[in-house]
């Protein structure tokens, strides 16, 4: 399609607006309220154009291109209108600097007396220098504002963490409001009042946090002025450079543009062209990354404990000391824990270190790769996983979405952003889970199950597919008659009871949505410690997907848990978390090598503990030796996100003196211990070896990844998928009279390695309290507990301290917590399962 723009022929893709076409062709049409990702709004009227054959002026951002259209955007009449519109906008915006003739030289003479304050000009505005409004004024060429300036004198809102809101600088473009509503589905902010009193704000002007804000920062990035500004950046000089890295925190794999200054990360914004995230991120990547490398808790010197205290020593001495001690343990006597937020290369090196140097099969990831791992397990003999799972793009394109067991906006924010894209196109949404979530109001059906009731629900749904319509024929594998027979003989009523769902009708509605023609995607997450019950759930979901032709997206919890799951398949089987903890408690594991967070267990049986860590944590007090390890931005390497997207992340920071990459530390130890083959010179050499050993990484290299913007993991061909016969007897959640409540533990990557975000930044603690255990107010009442009361949670085999929080969203008889990896002293426990019976009493 071609249009003529100011006399030049330009190519305009179909379905796009004139403004987008102009942008793509490099022609500037001033605009303030338009954002490419959002629906056209037509609020600011700066983008007015003339189209021959049509009367008057139309906004380019709301006008679709038509073949052969003749557009003018620079006529004197238009320029005049634009200046007038800008003048109007600027009557309510500090404008002294914008139209000042000294503008150019002002920048150089900043040190002299400032002629205007923040209330009247740009000089003190945190946005100065990267302000879209400045750009537009510049382009339109405004040199005066004829109307009297109005300063609205609205109090600057500073009560929320991470960013301030100064609505005196707001031009009411609505980009923040629309971003929050359309892109994030949060609806935290709205236009309040109208006319000259209009502002952007929350219900009754409460702080953002009370209005359901997730602090994703998308509104800050959308704001063209200094109205919304990141607090931490206010006191920083402009960055020296920007680099793109992959956020290591959760499994979404966002590419972030980090700004660097003096060897520090001062800020991070989602990269607009990030393959997985396309300009979106979440609070963790947006506001917490900068807190990580320079944290006060950073470990920067090797240490060993010869007598009572840990003492700083040189690397050589520490390595010798540790090597000597490690050698004294026999096969399988050392337990190795690795973080799944490390790079693929670090994880591979650590796994190899465990096998060839420590000679142990007791190797545990610090956070389970639950859902992807389980689906891969099922795949093996039942068909190739790549025919079943899908990427985030498929989520955005789906006609029906089923979200199982995840509070997406919090735990898998980019998956949520893609769900919203599908909802905009009228997709159906089923939300199944144990607690209320902000997703509920977008859902067609909400299936509220009791903790542990998930597999009953999924079995029920799979059965409904058969009873309500799915034909029994079809290529669904050799044993499929048996599977059909299984589902047909299910007792629906009993399943409904064990699922905890109130009405069969809501299950019917969900089933009807699943049977609808079109593309269906099921997104699924497990709890903290995936158990048999969740394996059973996985089987039902697998079958459900096959019966409906749906695709699955198993969600991984941390930055590289999917990569770890792939690597794990080329090594000996790992023990379960509970087997590992028992081995520690009962002394079968005599020494611990911790390259990832692990709760401090109250046992005297451990003889030697090595910490390969970046931050001081509870475990440090028990450590006999500490190796300071590099953090994400200081290490070159790759991450695999939840979709199976392998992405390269460069080293953009020098690690502090004395800090080494994880892979280098274990390589050095191996050389001293003269065990194993660790001749790696760099991380790229490790990926090379991994690509030969781990089938999924075949052919991967740093050079290739850098060029190609990442790629999807290979899987061995597309083989047909089979239905899987579910367990004959459903696994029951153990109940126990002395432990009357069911506690559900979920993961959602609330920290990086040993550093809890709630500890790294007080603002994060306001948003997500790691110590919170959520209870239904009814249960709280009978326990005589109020919101915020300290509690003790006891279970068979342990107890921990927490803080009671009340919520109607939690079912009666249930409790819920986000498991933070045992990183706080009170929370130092390993959950025996994702859901387990507990007793709650008042604590100190």
């Amino acid at each position: 399609m071609k249009i003529s723009l100011n006399g030049k022929q330009i190519d305009a893709g179909a379905g796009r607006t004139v403004l987008e076409a102009a942008r793509a062709a490099g022609v500037y049409i001033p605009s303030l309220c338009d954002i490419p990702r959002l629906e056209p709004f037509g609020g600011c009227r700066l983008c007015l154009i003339e189209i021959s054959g049509r009367r008057g002026y139309v906004p380019a951002c709301c006008t679709s291109v038509e073949d052969g259209m003749t557009v003018l955007s620079e006529t004197p009449a238009l320029q005049k209108i634009r200046r007038e519109i800008l003048e109007l906008i600027l009557t309510e915006h500090p404008n002294a600097c914008l139209i000042c003739t000294e503008k150019e030289s002002c920048d150089e003479h900043k040190s002299t007396i400032r002629k205007v304050g923040e209330t009247t000009g740009c000089v003190l505005c945190p946005n100065n220098g990267r302000c879209e409004l400045q750009d537009v004024v510049e382009a339109v060429g405004l040199d005066r504002v004829r109307f009297p300036a109005v300063y609205r004198n609205i109090d600057i809102k500073k009560t929320d963490p991470f960013f301030d809101r100064d609505y005196n600088l707001c031009i009411l473009c609505g980009r923040c409001v629309r971003t929050c509503q359309e892109e994030r589905g949060a609806g935290t902010i709205s236009f309040i009042r109208r006319g000259s009193e209009a502002v952007v704000g929350t219900v009754l002007d409460v702080p953002l946090l009370e209005a359901g804000c997730q602090m994703c920062g998308a509104c800050v990035d959308a704001c063209p002025t200094g109205a919304l500004t990141e607090r931490a950046l206010k006191y920083e000089q402009p960055a020296e450079r920007t680099d793109s890295i992959i956020c290591p925190v959760c499994g979404m794999g966002c590419r972030m543009d980090v700004s660097l200054l003096g060897g520090r990360i001062i800020g991070s914004r989602p990269a607009p062209d990030g393959p997985a995230n396309g300009g979106q991120a979440c609070v963790r990547g947006r506001f917490l990354l900068r807190e990580i490398p320079g944290s006060d808790l950073r470990i920067t010197m090797p240490m060993i404990r010869r007598k009572k205290d840990l003492e700083e020593v040189e690397w050589a001495e520490a390595l010798d000391f540790v090597a000597g001690r490690l050698k004294s343990f026999k096969k399988d006597e050392i337990g190795l824990v690795y973080s799944t937020q490390l790079t693929t290369e670090d994880i591979f090196a650590l796994k190899k270190f465990g096998r060839d140097v420590l000679k142990t099969k007791r190797v545990l990831p610090s956070s389970a790769s639950g859902a992807p791992d389980m689906m891969m397990d099922l795949a093996g003999t039942n068909g190739s996983i790549s025919s079943l799972i899908c990427d985030l793009n498929a989520v955005a394109e789906a006609d029906t979405l089923v979200v199982c067991g995840s509070d997406l906006p919090r735990a898998h924010p980019i998956a949520w952003v893609n769900v919203l894209k599908a909802l905009k196109k009228d997709a159906g949404l089923v939300v199944a889970g144990t607690a209320d979530s902000s997703m509920d109001r977008h859902a067609d059906v909400t299936l509220r199950v009791k903790p542990g009731g998930e597999s009953a629900l999924y079995g029920l749904l799979a059965g409904k597919m058969i009873t309500n319509g799915r034909e029994k024929s079809g290529a669904l594998g050799p044993g499929s008659e048996k599977v059909f027979a299984f589902y047909e003989s299910q007792k629906e009523k009993a399943l409904l009871d064990s699922s905890g769902i109130e009405k069969m009708s809501s299950v019917e509605t969900a089933a009807a949505l699943l049977l609808k023609k079109g593309k269906t995607v099921i997104l699924w997450d497990t709890g903290t410690v995936p158990d048999d019950r969740e394996k059973e759930a996985a089987v039902h979901l697998w079958n459900l997907a096959l019966l409906t032709g749906a695709r699955l997206l198993p969600l991984s919890s941390t930055g590289n848990s999917r990569g770890a799951a792939e690597i794990r398949r080329s090594f000996a089987a790992e023990p379960t978390a509970s087997a590992f903890t028992q081995d520690v408690a009962e002394g079968r594991i005599k020494a611990l090598y911790l390259a990832g967070p692990f709760p401090v267990l109250k046992t005297k049986k451990t003889e030697f503990t090595v910490l390969q860590a970046s931050f001081w944590s509870e475990a440090s007090a028990k450590a006999d030796a500490v190796f300071p390890a590099a953090v994400f931005a200081e290490t070159e390497g790759t991450f695999v996100n939840t979709e199976g997207r392998l992405q390269y992340s460069p080293r953009v920071l020098e690690p502090p003196d004395g800090v080494k990459e994880d892979w280098r530390i274990v390589s050095l130890l191996s050389q001293i211990m003269k065990r194993g083959d660790f001749t790696f010179k760099n991380a790229s050499g490790i990926l090379k070896e991994a690509s030969e050993v781990v089938p999924a990484f075949a052919g991967a290299s740093f050079t290739g990844l850098k060029k190609s913007n990442g790629r999807f993991l290979k899987s061995a061909g597309e083989s047909p998928l089979n239905l899987i016969l579910p367990f004959e007897k459903p696994t029951k959640i153990p109940t126990n009279k002395s432990y009357p409540l069911l506690l559900e533990c979920r993961d959602s990557a609330e920290g990086y390695r040993e550093l809890l975000f709630a500890v790294a930044h007080p603002g994060f603690a306001l948003l997500r309290d790691p110590e919170a255990v959520w209870l239904n107010p009814k249960d709280a009442k009978s326990l005589k507990l109020g919101d915020g009361d300290p509690i003790k949670v006891s279970f068979f085999g342990g107890s921990f301290g927490a803080v009671a929080r009340l919520s109607d969203g939690v079912p009666v008889g249930a409790a819920r917590t986000i498991y933070a990896g045992g990183l706080l002293p009170e929370l130092s426990f390993v959950p025996p399962a994702s859901v387990f019976p507990v007793k709650i009493t008042r604590g100190q």
Binding site: G15, G187, S190, I192, S196, V203, G212, R441
Partner: protein, 152 residues
Amino acid sequence: MGKIPKSEHNDRRELIHLLHDIQEKHGYIPPEAIFVIARKLRITESEIYGVLTFYKGFSLTPRGKHLVTICMGTACHVRGAPRILDEFSRRLNIEPGKTTEDKQFTLETVNCVGACALGPIAITDGKYQGQLKTTDVAKLVDGIRDGDAEGS
């Protein structure tokens, strides 16, 4: 260009209906109602608040029979609007933004009503009262009360 899902249209229309009903029944929208509606219609509280403050017909505080609005814009301010406001406050025995116990008067402030030359200005039941002096306030209030007495 994506279409707005049907459901959103319905929700918004229903929202305005609901707000009308509540306003009619209580004479104002009690803030708690926002949270109840949010659950019922599956719209966020802030979105409801946006709609509700958009229309002048909805009020978040109980309104009296008579509305007195004092302009606190810059021009009126320098010409003594604060003193006028104080006087109304004192006479009616309420803070700005509040309603008298007998539900007869509500006292509000605005920023500039566009008649600066006439400042300081009060608007009583829609009537502009320009160039006010503190001594005029008693007359105005009594006038409104008397009007009611005559009418009944």
